[in-house]
């Protein structure tokens, strides 16, 4: 199947989502268009948490998960 790149709307959603739930702190630069970054590491972290395929990129399954209704507390800063 053809793979669609994330839309600007998806990228904005991802930035907000990762900041809110996965402690993304990086502020500058277009998302996911540079080399390995804190953002791609945070995408990977999110994908691991939710049991998704860990790609570090904003694939369709990851965006779909980000759009699901959820609790407002972060998923990181946790300890077992």
């Amino acid at each position: 199947l053809p793979i669609s790149p994330p839309t600007e709307e998806d990228e904005a959603l991802a930035e907000t989502y990762l900041k809110k739930f996965f402690n993304l702190t990086e502020e500058t630069g277009p998302m996911f268009r540079r080399g390995p970054s804190q953002r791609s590491r945070k995408v990977s972290e999110m994908q691991r948490f939710f049991g998704l395929k860990v790609t570090g990129t904003l694939d369709a399954e990851t965006v779909k998960m980000m759009k699901k209704p959820r609790c407002g507390l972060p998923d990181v800063q946790l300890s077992r």
Partner: protein, 170 residues
């Protein structure tokens, strides 16, 4: 399951709660019932006991609000974030806030079931953070389960008993 850092927990098993306001989506009786049942989910498997108060400050203050609602964590309108709650502690600690831009329901599959959302939030109020077990109540994503047959998943039981121990009455 996961807990908050430093195993943040209540120093007592006798906790109070207060419903500060109501959503227009449901009757007062339905909200009361949903909240009570959501707390009992945790009481059934732990030594925690909950007493409702009608004035003053309770350990767990429960309110409905939207957008900026008095803390530093504004809600985001319909869908997205449904609610949030604070880990055990003084003042805002333990409090649970529900986004009133959502449509909360008592028994309908339409909208978001308040009992299910509240049960999850009260897990935070008691010291549990998010679980990465997709079957757990403390999984961060909303998932509808028939409320009348709800049973607290094993991961959540293990988590709350890790913090407070088992229900001594069972």
């Amino acid at each position: 399951f996961t807990t908050f850092d430093n195993l943040n927990k209540w120093p007592t098993n006798q906790l109070t709660y207060r419903i500060e306001n109501y959503t227009p989506d449901m009757s007062v009786a339905e909200v009361d019932n949903s909240i009570e049942r959501a707390l009992q989910v945790w009481a059934k498997v732990s030594p925690l006991r909950f007493t409702r108060i009608y004035r003053g400050t309770a350990d767990i203050m429960i309110s409905f609000g939207n957008r900026n609602h008095g803390d530093f964590y504004p809600f985001d309108g319909p869908d997205g974030t449904l609610a949030h709650a604070f880990s055990p502690g003084a003042d805002i600690g333990g409090d649970a806030h529900f986004d009133d831009d959502e449509y909360f329901t008592f028994s309908s599959t339409r909208g978001y079931n308040l009992f299910l959302v509240a049960a999850h939030e009260f897990g935070h109020s008691l010291g549990l953070s998010h679980s990465n077990d997709p079957g757990a109540l403390m999984f961060p994503v909303y998932s509808y389960t028939e409320p009348s047959t709800f049973s607290l998943p094993r991961d959540d039981v293990t988590g709350i008993q890790y913090i407070y121990g088992p229900n001594p009455d069972v």
